[in-house]
């Protein structure tokens, strides 16, 4: 009897074990499962990034900064920033604008999954297949031009491939499903009772969109913009296959590719890749900062 009492007393004094205290802080055996992915991330992302950064400051000739100086003084290089933005920003905006009405309609459908599946097929096809298809479809002898000629809308075929518009079309087709799925998830996350409440309060359909849906959707649309933009910004295959890689669609990734595999200047290529990364980062940070201007809480009518 006495022994039991003293044992209990001892236990109370020592408090919870180290394991219990760690678990209370969120560290338990399951936490160890993040180690493999952390190692993988370090090997495949952090190390190459750091290596590229160091490499970009070790040019073939000149001072450490000479790659960057060369990039920003030679229009052949710095113009690629503008060319890439001119493709990726309008494409991203267009995809967002297209996605919104479609998502609002699909939200009400019973056969949502079927339509979603159809819309997602372009993702699974891959950029190269779509580029090859567009080459034929939009080419001078393709169906698109022949149809326009046949109905008499144009006199001679439009030039739609091997220029800006070919790449533009391909980026829209590749990017739309991705943008759409993200937008759909944000739109369906809004409690439909909010729209009904706005309607009974006298808001027209237009007012319901601008005063209720849009402000609540804005943070989600900003995130969607960033993800879609980053995807479009790193365009390479369609810029080569459908564009004019020596001229108006000479995007940053082509410049980096040429530096690495035509001039064999890995250091310059790394510098271009770094600049590419910072341009993307600047746009994304700008977008995320503007997100702070909007409401960011839950999209339902709070708790209850």
């Amino acid at each position: 009897m006495t022994m039991t009492v003293s044992a209990e007393k001892h236990h109370v004094e020592s408090g919870p074990s180290l394991r219990q205290r760690l678990a209370a802080q969120g560290f338990d055996a399951v936490t160890l499962l993040v180690i493999p992915s952390f190692v993988l991330l370090a090997l495949l992302f952090i190390y190459p990034f750091a290596y590229g950064l160091v490499l970009s400051f070790e040019p073939k000739a000149g001072s450490a900064w000479s790659n960057y100086v060369r990039f920003f003084t030679d229009p052949y290089f710095y113009s690629t920033i503008w060319k890439t933005l001119l493709l990726s920003v309008p494409v991203t905006v267009l995809n967002l604008v297209f996605s919104l009405p479609v998502a609002f309609r699909v939200r009400l459908l019973y056969r949502q999954r079927l339509l979603t599946t159809i819309l997602v097929i372009p993702i699974t096809l891959g950029t190269v297949l779509i580029a090859e298809g567009l080459l034929n479809y939009l080419g001078p002898q393709g169906w698109f031009n022949r149809a326009l000629l046949a109905i008499g809308l144009i006199d001679h075929p439009l030039r739609l491939v091997h220029n800006y518009w070919g790449v533009f079309a391909s980026l829209v087709i590749n990017g739309f499903p991705f943008t759409f799925l993200l937008v759909l998830s944000y739109v369906t996350g809004i409690d439909p009772a909010l729209e009904q409440a706005a309607a009974t309060l006298g808001a027209s359909a237009r007012q319901r969109f601008t005063h209720v849906y849009l402000p609540i959707l804005m943070p989600g649309l900003a995130i969607t913009f960033c993800l879609s933009f980053v995807q479009a910004f790193s365009v390479f295959p369609s810029a080569v296959l459908l564009g004019e890689p020596a001229g108006e669609t000479r995007v940053m990734s082509i410049a980096a590719y040429q530096a690495a595999f035509e001039e064999y200047d890995y250091s310059l290529a790394s510098a271009i890749a770094m600049i590419m990364g910072f341009v993307q980062l600047a746009i994304v940070i700008g977008m995320m900062a503007s997100r702070g201007l909007f409401y960011r809480g839950p999209a339902t009518g709070a708790k209850g």
């Binding site: 409690d191 009772a193 909010l194 009904q196 409440a197 706005a198 309607a199 009974t200 309060l201 006298g202 808001a203 027209s204 007012q207 005063h211 209720v212 402000p215 609540i216 909007f294 409401y295 809480g297 839950p298 999209a299 339902t300 009518g301 709070a302 708790k303 209850g304």
Partner: protein, 357 residues
């Protein structure tokens, strides 16, 4: 007080139907609501009470019949053109707007001047006793406070009619009682006309001037709380008014206002609520309060006690008769589980209904 609700004489629903698939259908609902009334639509889930409310609000189109506000036909108007204030079960507060902006939303959509909006919103918030919270977001409020904001938002547009869809069902029991009194107080202060959907008969009985009981898309009975409580006209209405015992039997004899049913080896006599045929099946309905322990004899059933609950002043239990009928009864003294007792009800506390109507 600057909130003055628009005047009208009556709202009429004429043979309103709503058929869409088979769920929540309305089959021919006709109802007149007079200005100043507090009407409760009462019924089990799926009975069509929310559908009726949504048809009045314009959130669901009717598939037949018409809705009139005095001489204006409104069932063809869009919800934003009807101008009724609605309080939703989930409150449906705009999460990105402050309390003040939420309440002012309807006025802003109508193009009311800023000064006017500010004045009316302040009045509405004072009316629901929420003046100190104007700058908070809905997410920072408790459930009861959110409910008050939803009510303020619905009345500030000065609607002729206030529609409420189970507004208290998300609140805990204590708050529900408090808000129930609040809703009636606001209704009285404004002289509002309110249509209130609920599945809780206590709420309907305590709030409403008139109750409309719906079942399967049909109005079963319309009447004052006292009418419905004392004189239900249908077994389903009785069911909803606390007649928890529903005993099926065969009519063996009847007088002008009483009938006697044979239930197994026992007989039960009660007041006739609907006409019945001798020899046909009928129901005897008894409240648990009126079925008490006593001696064998007329209107008494021998039964074995299955459960017994202590309720402070009394005991409420369930027992099964020799014929396998489960009964809910009241007792003012403790009884033993498994004991056989006699449960009896005075004939004037038993209501007899025909099987179908």
């Amino acid at each position: 007080m600057t909130i003055a609700l628009q005047k009208f004489d009556e709202l009429r629903l004429e043979h309103v139907r709503r058929e869409f698939g088979s769920l929540n259908a309305l089959k021919d609902v006709t109802l007149t609501v007079k200005r100043g009334e507090f009407i409760a639509l009462l019924g089990p889930s799926g009975c069509g009470k929310s559908t009726t409310l949504n048809c009045i609000a314009g959130l669901l189109p009717v598939t037949g019949g018409a809705i009139w506000l005095d001489k204006r036909r409104i069932d063809t108007l869009r919800p934003e053109e009807r101008g009724f204030g609605m309080v939703f079960q989930s409150y449906a507060l705009f999460p990105h707007l402050t309390v003040k902006q939420n309440v002012g939303f309807g006025l802003k959509m109508r193009g009311v001047s800023k000064a006017e909006i500010s004045r009316k919103v302040d009045d509405a918030l004072a009316l629901v006793r929420l003046s100190g919270q104007a700058q908070k977001l809905p997410g920072q409020l408790s459930g009861g406070q959110q409910q008050r904001v939803a009510i303020a938002r619905a009345i500030v547009i000065e609607p002729p009619l206030v529609l409420m869809d189970e507004p208290l069902s998300n609140l805990d029991a204590k708050l529900r009682l408090e808000m129930r009194a609040e809703i009636r107080r606001i209704h009285n202060t404004l002289g509002a006309t309110t249509i209130y959907v609920t599945h809780d008969q206590d709420e309907a009985l305590s709030l409403a001037d008139r109750i409309v009981v719906l079942k399967d898309g049909i109005i079963r009975q319309v009447g004052t709380p006292n009418d419905l409580y004392e004189r239900p006209e249908h077994i389903d209405v009785a069911d909803f008014m606390g007649f928890r015992n529903r005993i099926k039997g065969k009519v063996i004899r009847q007088t002008n206002d009483e009938a006697t049913l044979a239930v197994g080896d026992s007989e039960i006599t009660g007041l006739l609520r609907t006409s019945v045929q001798n020899g046909s099946e009928a129901y005897a309905a008894i409240r648990a309060d009126d079925l008490i322990t006593g001696d064998p004899g007329m209107n008494a059933f021998a039964a074995r006690i299955d459960t017994i609950e202590y309720r402070g002043r009394e005991f409420v239990g369930t027992a099964r008769t020799m014929d396998g009928i489960d009964l809910v009864f009241r007792s003012d003294h403790a009884v033993d589980l498994g004991a056989t007792i006699h449960l009896r009800a005075a004939p004037e506390r038993v209501l007899v209904f025909s099987e179908t109507m």
